[in-house]
Amino acid sequence: MDETKNIKTKVILYILLFIVAVVILFPFVWIFLTSLKTAGDITCYPPKFIFDASWDNYKSLFKTSQTGAAASTLNFSRYYINSLIIAGFGTLLSLIIGFGAGYTLTRAKFKKESTRENVAFTLISFWFGPELAIILPLYIFFNKLNLLDNHLALILAYQLIGIPFTIWLSRSFFSDVPASVEESSRIDGYTALQTFWKITFPMVKSGLAATAILTFIFEWNNFLFALVIGGRNTMPVTTGALGFISYEAALWGQMAAAIILSSIPQLIIAMFAQKNMARGLTFGAVKG
């Protein structure tokens, strides 16, 4: 009786999970299939699920001599490198500043305890602000500094998303480390910095890894800053993919291939760090 009931629940569970998987994966599979189709197959109706797959779209992304007005301006590998530079260094900078601030906001002694929350909230509130609201001032700002179409400008602009996010998340991880554990280490003969590396860091590293991954994904996916502040030389994949839609034609197949390629770093990181992600994101909730 119990066993059949068990199997029933399992079957229902798997069906539900399958539905969820289909809903989540469908766009991804669709794009992947599109990237393997020829232009004719893409636009035909009803959509073809069986067709002659080819890697031509991928190959054309990296070809130097291309036909058509849209394609001639495209340089996908360049966009890719731009994305890696901007999101990579952007994340690094966010982590260095954000973790430092997160830790300080957790442990530093403030004269008034309310100051701590006020400072933290002010910093974190940058994250709430809509990007559209600041994009124009930011454009003028970087224009005056002569930094438009410059990697540094994008890296700095990304800090508006990166730093508040890393502060907010890392702070919650740091505050899960009991102060007495750090104090105990101080009394055991270690300096504050040694205590941080030997005690605090190992306790929060899964959380920090999760923070790092999410920050990278946010910065990699950013579109608006790259569109307004970036330019021909600094265009990352997000805005680069736009180039496939032009006055003459929309190169759906190449665009799909570009999208698939641009999501690879995130996929690799997420898979690689899945364990850390899960542990990190549940760190505060589940205490041993």
Partner: protein
């Protein structure tokens, strides 16, 4: 081992004063217990000694050297935290070895020496078989031993222990109380031990420092805390059930003293040769009597108060009896006999007038102690 001198230390947090002008000495090899209710400033005092809190004023000397401004990692003190503060990512062995691996002790301890020392202390605390476990795999008692082991593993100048056995179950707590004392004696340590439990304080401390609102109330040996308390606060703090207190007026009568308990309509008569008692004549005083110095009877005897026996609680080796007297006041009595038959019946409580304590009514300071046990 070393001598610790605390001189007039004060610690303010904003406008609140946690420790106020506290001074005491802890001699070499001595155990002092800090006793006080929650929020009395015991832990803050300990944290000041450890260097975790900056002093607002005052000095701390260790063997004559001023350590007030030395950071915690250079103070050479070991501290046990109430929540154990074990390092969760390290095994028991790594936790215990951690203080020995500190940069300042690197020269003194090589790997073999560390292993040997950890093993020694683990055997002393009977946790040898747990050395490769992580703190999450330990029970409360085992965590407590591990934390104690980490405190004992290096030979610090002074041990600071914050409620080391407060969170253990009753049986274990009782056993550890005895063990702690013997470990301290075996190692000959200088110890400052914080507790809110008077039994623990009295049994472990060579001297007991009673603290209230950050101020020293009494620093004395256990017998004195019990029988020659400085004031009502100390009297109430030590003792379970707590001491009974009555308000009365002191008279002299035919060479004897008499306390007139107006509300209870009774006189308590006692003999004393203490001349200084005379100056309290005809003044209001507080009479204190411990529950074990009161007996219950059905007939009126001298120094008796009448009341109704309202509750009996069975304790391990005695009964705790509550007697209601006039105006809703209760008297607690500790007795070997179970007066079950007298429940809710009128009875007399007889006060052993030789063992009473008297306190000044204004500041509640002690003015007289009866015969010591």
């Amino acid at each position: 081992m070393y001598r610790l001198e605390v001189k007039n230390i004060t610690k303010n947090f904003g406008k609140t004063t946690a420790v106020k002008n506290l001074s005491f000495n802890c001699e070499e090899g001595e155990t002092i217990t800090l006793l006080g209710p929650t929020g009395a400033g015991k832990t803050t005092t300990l944290r000041c000694l450890a260097g975790l809190e900056e002093l607002t004023s005052g000095k701390i000397y260790l063997d004559g050297k001023d350590i007030s401004n030395i950071p915690p990692n250079h103070r050479e003190l070991a501290m046990f935290f109430e929540n154990y503060a074990l390092y969760p990512h390290m095994t028991v062995r790594e936790n215990m070895a951690y203080p020995l691996k500190a940069p300042s002790r690197r020269k003194e301890f090589n790997k073999e020496k560390i292993d040997k020392r950890v093993q020694e202390i683990a055997e002393l605390l009977q946790i040898s078989e747990l050395l490769d476990r992580k703190p999450t795999e330990l029970s409360g008692g085992q965590k407590q031993r591990t934390a104690l082991g980490r405190t004992l593993v290096r030979k610090p100048k002074v041990f600071l222990l914050d409620e080391p056995i407060a969170h253990l179950d009753a049986v274990l707590r009782h056993r550890m109380r005895g063990e702690m004392k013997s470990i301290f004696q075996k190692l000959g340590c200088t110890v400052i031990y914080v507790t809110h439990d008077y039994r623990e304080a009295l049994s472990i401390g060579d001297r007991i420092l009673v603290i209230r609102k950050g101020e020293l109330v009494q620093l004395a040996i256990a017998e004195d805390i019990w029988s020659r308390m400085n004031n009502v606060f100390v009297a109430k703090l030590a003792g379970d059930p707590p001491i009974n207190i009555f308000k009365g007026i002191l008279h002299t009568e035919e060479g004897n003293f008499k306390i007139e308990l107006k509300k209870q309509k009774t006189d308590i008569v006692f003999e004393s040769k203490k001349e200084n008692l005379k100056k309290w004549e005809e003044k209001e005083v507080l009479l204190g009597i411990r529950p074990n110095n009161i007996t219950i009877s059905t007939i009126k005897k001298p120094n008796s108060i009448n009341g109704t026996l309202s509750a009996i609680e069975a304790m391990s080796s005695s009964y705790e009896i509550t007697v209601s007297i006039s105006e809703g006041k209760m008297i607690k009595v500790k007795s070997k006999i179970n007066f079950k038959d007298l429940l809710n019946k009128p009875i007399w409580v007889n006060i052993d007038s030789e063992r009473i304590h008297l306190f000044n009514c204004q500041d509640e300071e002690s003015i007289y102690h009866g015969r010591i046990l």
